[in-house]
């Protein structure tokens, strides 16, 4: 069977093409989805890419969350559809309340763009099963509002339930609480990640190819399902 992974383009998305390419390199069929279209074209999983959807007006992700496509994404994610939100996609997932917490302005106020070392902390989510537990990877990171915040009770819950899927190593680039780079929902099908694995899927264009397992994870899960 061919696994079909949709990537949503919002007005202001930047990384939708790279996400589609990562899906293809991982061996799945990339399907372009449009923000105004509720129809998810029966894809097996959805990626919400990075960028500045709707110009980041109001708050990052706040307007995208109410787009027609997100109505379907939210409904189907609650029913188990695997969804990966990268950077702006992570912000949209938090604004949609599919994930707890919020992403706030970097504590040092600078936009950062660097290759960032991460540790994969949970390999049971839909998007991380192809990693080794504790695996250290380097992928690009680029954001102005990437500081993950949540109240202490929520942070404790995320830790206790193993829902911190990746943590920053060496430096905390944006003031994220507890060095959190990515989290999942309780069921593990929805994952939000601030760094950009889709930019690290082939040697020509990425610092590494260590972002690829995010995309092969979903492929394996769906093929075996």
């Amino acid at each position: 069977m061919t696994v079909r992974v949709g990537v949503v383009t919002f007005p202001g998305s930047l990384d939708d093409r790279d996400a589609l390419r990562a899906v293809r390199i991982a061996g799945a069929e990339p399907v372009a989805l449009w923000h105004k279209d509720k129809n998810l074209q029966q894809v097996d999983a959805v990626v919400l890419p990075g960028g500045f959807s709707y110009g980041d007006y109001l708050r990052c992700g706040a307007i995208s969350r109410f787009s027609p496509v997100m109505e379907s994404v939210i409904e189907q994610a609650q029913a188990g559809l695997p969804v990966l939100g990268i950077c702006n996609g992570f912000q949209i997932l938090c604004e949609s309340h599919l994930l707890p917490g919020a992403l706030t302005r970097n504590d040092h106020l600078h936009f950062i763009c660097r290759d960032q070392k991460l540790r994969i902390e949970n390999v049971s989510s839909a998007w991380t099963s192809d990693f080794a537990q504790g695996q250290e990877i380097t992928v690009p990171l680029k954001n102005g509002e990437g500081g993950f915040v949540a109240d202490e009770r929520t942070l404790d819950m995320l830790e206790a339930e193993g829902r911190v899927i990746a943590r920053y190593l060496d430096v905390n680039p944006n003031g994220s609480r507890r060095d959190i780079a990515g989290i999942s929902n309780a069921a593990g099908n929805v994952v939000g990640l601030m760094p950009h694995p889709e930019h690290a899927v082939e040697p020509l264009t990425g610092p590494t190819t260590e972002g690829l397992p995010f995309f092969t994870s979903i492929l394996k899960r769906l093929v075996n399902a």
């Binding site: 109001l58 708050r59 706040a62 109410f66 938090c94 604004e95 707890p100 917490g101 919020a102 706030t104 302005r105 970097n106 504590d107 040092h108 106020l109 500081g147 915040v149 949540a150 109240d151 003031g175």
Partner: protein
């Protein structure tokens, strides 16, 4: 026409690096004695009809679900009096 104002502020426990940057810049501009700055957003909503309890309830709903992210922000809804 009636105006309703919604003020949105980061919750006190959420770091406000923009406010801090403003606070740090003030002494250099000759504005001394300001010990803290928090930066927020103000929305001015013009209403078609009267500002009754039903209209305010709808605005509170809009503030809660859209204008503010209540995970990190608090909001206050108030009616601006005529002639101001």
């Amino acid at each position: 026409m009636a105006r309703v104002v919604v003020d949105v502020m980061l919750k006190p426990e959420i770091l406000d690096p923009q406010g801090q940057a403003v606070q740090r810049a003030l002494p250099g501009l000759g504005f001394d004695g300001i010990t803290d700055v928090r930066q927020g957003k103000r929305f001015e909503l013009e209403l078609e009809g009267p500002v009754d309890e039903a209209a305010l309830a709808r605005i509170r709903e809009a503030a809660e679900s859209f204008l503010a992210n209540t995970v990190i922000e608090d909001f206050v809804v108030r009616v601006e009096e005529e002639g101001k």
